[in-house]
Symmetry: C2
Subunit: 204 residues, 2 copies
């Protein structure tokens, strides 16, 4: 029985928390079935049996709704705004700092690990993650700098962050699992800076 069915079975009109849950439920199905890019808020409203205006009432856009389907109560658009506002010379460090700030609490980390893990074995999950990261996260960050090759740069930055998640939380390489947040910001900040901003391909 889905949340929506449950709402109906109890004979209540969708409203408040029930409507919210029905929308998240419909969104989760749609992202999994169609991927991130092809999912629309209108389609989610239809699937949830609610007015599209209600979706906009409860959620600040598609990225925020996507985060809700992962049980992560953050608004990606706000985080990206925070990351891309400020000195571009510190962009790489801000990304690592923001990322770890959001994801280190255990309950969010579990959601992140579950997402990365399922993207390794399910083409649907891989597509969701790939499209979401490209469209809402690293695509936006890379585009904000004006550096050439934003797509390749964004993808390279994503590769370092995905590798950090896998090595620290999943494979649990000891030195990385034990590293402090400050150490990671200090060591990985310059890597994201290099991938996203530096004009020359390397230090030589």
């Amino acid at each position: 029985m889905t949340t929506r069915d449950a709402v109906r079975a109890r004979g209540r009109r969708p409203g408040g928390e029930d409507t919210r849950s029905a929308i998240i439920d419909a969104a989760r199905k749609s992202f999994a079935a169609k991927g991130y890019d092809k999912t629309s808020l209108r389609g989610i409203a239809r699937e949830a049996g609610v007015d599209p205006a209600l979706v906009h009432h409860y959620f600040d856009g598609k990225a925020a709704l996507f985060a809700e389907t992962l049980d992560v109560p953050v608004n990606p658009a706000e985080l990206i705004e925070r990351i891309t506002t400020g000195d571009v010379d510190r962009l790489g460090w801000r990304i690592v700092e923001t990322f770890l700030g959001v994801w280190e609490p255990a309950e969010r980390r579990d959601a992140l690990v579950a997402l990365v893990r399922s993207s390794m074995t399910s083409e649907e999950a891989a597509r969701m993650l790939r499209e979401f990261l490209g469209r809402e996260v690293f695509g936006r960050i890379a585009a904000s700098t004006g550096a050439p090759d934003p797509q390749l740069r964004g993808a390279l930055a994503a590769s370092q962050m995905i590798g950090l998640v896998v090595a620290r939380y999943v494979i649990k390489v000891p030195a990385l699992a034990e590293a402090t947040r400050e150490q990671l910001v200090e060591r990985i900040g310059p890597v994201l800076q290099h991938h996203l901003v530096d004009r020359s391909p390397g230090p030589e």
Copy 2:
């Protein structure tokens, strides 16, 4: 029926290809059950029912045997030797070049992807990969430079390479899946150089 059983069932003495297969079979089981570090060549010989000298006859050490269990006919010790010999100022680039040279052929790439994928869902596979990378690959490379914090440096370098494999071959982020080898060497070489060798934590 295992390879060893097959050898016996056919009434032949272990020898040549049969012995070789029996050893690989026993090694695969032992690495999965005990992890990389606690597996010994002596224990593998016992499990395979052959003289330990035969294991040394067929395989150039534990790392080479581990590679065989992954169906990857490379000798890690030789690759590491090749990587760590030469100008330390080019170490990062040599790693990416060597890594891609070995792993890009489709049949080896499949073995690599299978290993990374299984390490995401199986603690046994994660432990094998973690111990192998730490002991035989990034541990040795990091130790070769004389830079401080070799364990953290090796783990950070591993995180970038794991992220590259996941983003390019598994999640298939378009810009990375389509990048040429030369582009990857140019962009990721300096990152490994930074993680492994650079004294200052960043460009500032």
